[in-house]
Symmetry: C2
Subunit: 444 residues, 2 copies
Amino acid sequence: MRKIAVGLLGLGNVGSGVVKLLADNADSIRERLGGASVEIRRILVRETEKQRLVDVDRKLITKSASSILDDPEISIVVELIGGEEKARQLVLDAIAHGKHVVTANKALLAAHGDELFAAAEKKNVDLYYEASVGGGVPIIRALREGLASDRITEVIGIVNGTSNFLLTKMTDEPQPFEQILAEAQRLGYAEADSSLDVDGWDAAHKLCVLVPLCFGISIHTKDVLVEGLRGIEPIDFRYAERFGFVIKPLVIAKDHGDSLEARVHPTLIPRRFMLASVNDVYNAVYVSSHALGQSMYYGRGAGMMPTAVAVVSDLLEVSRNLLSSSVGGPPTGRVRTPKRIRAAGELESRYYLRINVLDQPGVLAQLAGLLGEQGISISEMVQEGQRTDGKSACVVMTTHIAREENMQAALMRINLLPAVVAPTRLLRIFDRPGENATRGGKTA
Amino acid sequence: MRKIAVGLLGLGNVGSGVVKLLADNADSIRERLGGASVEIRRILVRETEKQRLVDVDRKLITKSASSILDDPEISIVVELIGGEEKARQLVLDAIAHGKHVVTANKALLAAHGDELFAAAEKKNVDLYYEASVGGGVPIIRALREGLASDRITEVIGIVNGTSNFLLTKMTDEPQPFEQILAEAQRLGYAEADSSLDVDGWDAAHKLCVLVPLCFGISIHTKDVLVEGLRGIEPIDFRYAERFGFVIKPLVIAKDHGDSLEARVHPTLIPRRFMLASVNDVYNAVYVSSHALGQSMYYGRGAGMMPTAVAVVSDLLEVSRNLLSSSVGGPPTGRVRTPKRIRAAGELESRYYLRINVLDQPGVLAQLAGLLGEQGISISEMVQEGQRTDGKSACVVMTTHIAREENMQAALMRINLLPAVVAPTRLLRIFDRPGENATRGGKTA
């Protein structure tokens, strides 16, 4: 029977998982492929002598990319080296050699997706990337296939497991962010260099992978409002709870018809919203579409095996395409309907403000006045008694829907008030009235 | 360009939705199929003169099944007439004529899946059924494709929207079941004949569709422990909450290696378990597998458009297979590994018991004694003060894990006690320790 030869670029955690899954499931894979087998023909590594997580035939290991790219029998290249520039060159080379590509690299797709998809289309090869967003969550396939005949209006996701772990911890234990982060790093839940996760860039990359798939337009991280977790304090979780919210690290993209909104920030969401139950390192993507209404996909966002499962499911899909001569199938991320991306200032949201003020008469009136000047109205407000110094107080409020540029203007003026003794903490609220509400129609 | 001709059996809600989606999305479907179009060639109905939900060319309407089955140009038949026997014959005839089949009919698949899949395999045609379970939840595709290289150990689902709606209502409002049901029927959330939904049979059919896909073995409703919602009282929701649970209508299938467990019943689940947030008519399926760990798929379980989206996504998938000559692909529900189905008595669970007793000394000792004789130990217990008659009391308890046959034996004896004044209410508890807990490994 036919063998499908695969070249693996990289043999770290995920690569080792792929090797293991292909070996463990060889029989069922053969059954699914009508007798054909998927075999790893060669593995590109940086250090040939390194200890590996799986047993691999030494003869497969190579430091030469061209031994993969120039091998005419290798039909699928799996890119798992990460990073941008080298990965980009290898993927482009693989495509140029007529090879199909499976990648888990969201940073690569976020930065160079247009170029790569165009190259793949031109050479009529497949470029699959299920593992790039929410490893254990088959969100790419669901969006591409399940919603094929539907029109998506909004996507809201928790797509960075480390951020979700940190905010879940802070919800459960009132400890400072830096302390929680240090503990997470010690436990291996956060990288030593945490900025990609904590500052929102990993999530932004993933949003840039989802948007073309959902809305048919390409987008870059520079078009996205990105805010990370730093500066959130334990007290913010307490107030959020008091107002009926939990704080989650969200990515949000919404189609406004003429324009698209895209943002990444820690967000207050109602406790009963489905995403509020997504805890620890789990990921979820919540999709609203015309015909389906709401749907959600939940699972482990990362880790060796979930990501490897996603890579192998792509490998099987491309193999099926190969065996049935239907590669280069439906578009996977092409630009279709150019649409303006809304600038940060245009975005609209409800807001949470925690303002540290001197406890003196007239301060509240000043705050309300500055917000009112910008057309922002207050929804709820709490003024907490004296803090330890006995002189300052904490004013916490939520607003009704306001425009980001108005809020930023008000915020600047608020922080300039003599009575305001520390920078105001601003968080955005995602409030979905009627969420999960029952609607008409036959049910079963 | 090529046209793929479709014969539609049935033009009710879902059929009308399919007609509408194919018309509304004609352009994007053509783009996805490389220029080919999907066209409805003929529609089988019972009454040709009936008013329809969509405009349809009168010439397409027919009362003659053979005008579809004998049309060599029709390559895909979509079965939406429901019911078992007539649908079975039509699907078998369609397969015998070499046509690919898309169906939304879970009752058909639950009763005759083996026969239909065998016939499809023999004729090398596709038999797709995404719409049969959880309309708006692409669970069939996710299980078949996304988890292709993984091994599923357990599936837990809320797959009947009506039941979930009723239990959600009873959680929110302390009203008797029959009253809630009558209201749901008035609002159109429950059928006039509600027994298929309320007594668990619709859910059992869906479980019988999921099990072959997840575990490679076929199963029939007679093998499944099925209990419906009747007999649940508002007070049960109050006690459930007191013990930290909510009550959800679950289907559960679990692989025990040598045997398989399958059951359908209202279940107490911990409040923080993801499925506890699935409310109203929404469905969700929660899957545990070796490599992925936990994942969940959530969406609208039924309704015209969600179900139609699922049917159209199958139509597109089969069309892609047709265009690429790869029909009759991977197995969709064949028996692979014969495995014993556990009898009801063998099942194990924690239990909730609400026992109405005369308020007299020694009753608790009798209850504990009868449970103890069966090796069942009590986890928590509450005895509620006198009821309105001043003579009887309510003993509510949860047990540790026990075997169903032991519990049923104890229950029989408990109900025979002179001090027990009404049949005891038994509910099962699905308690998943460590649910959603954080585990080791790199996260991102």
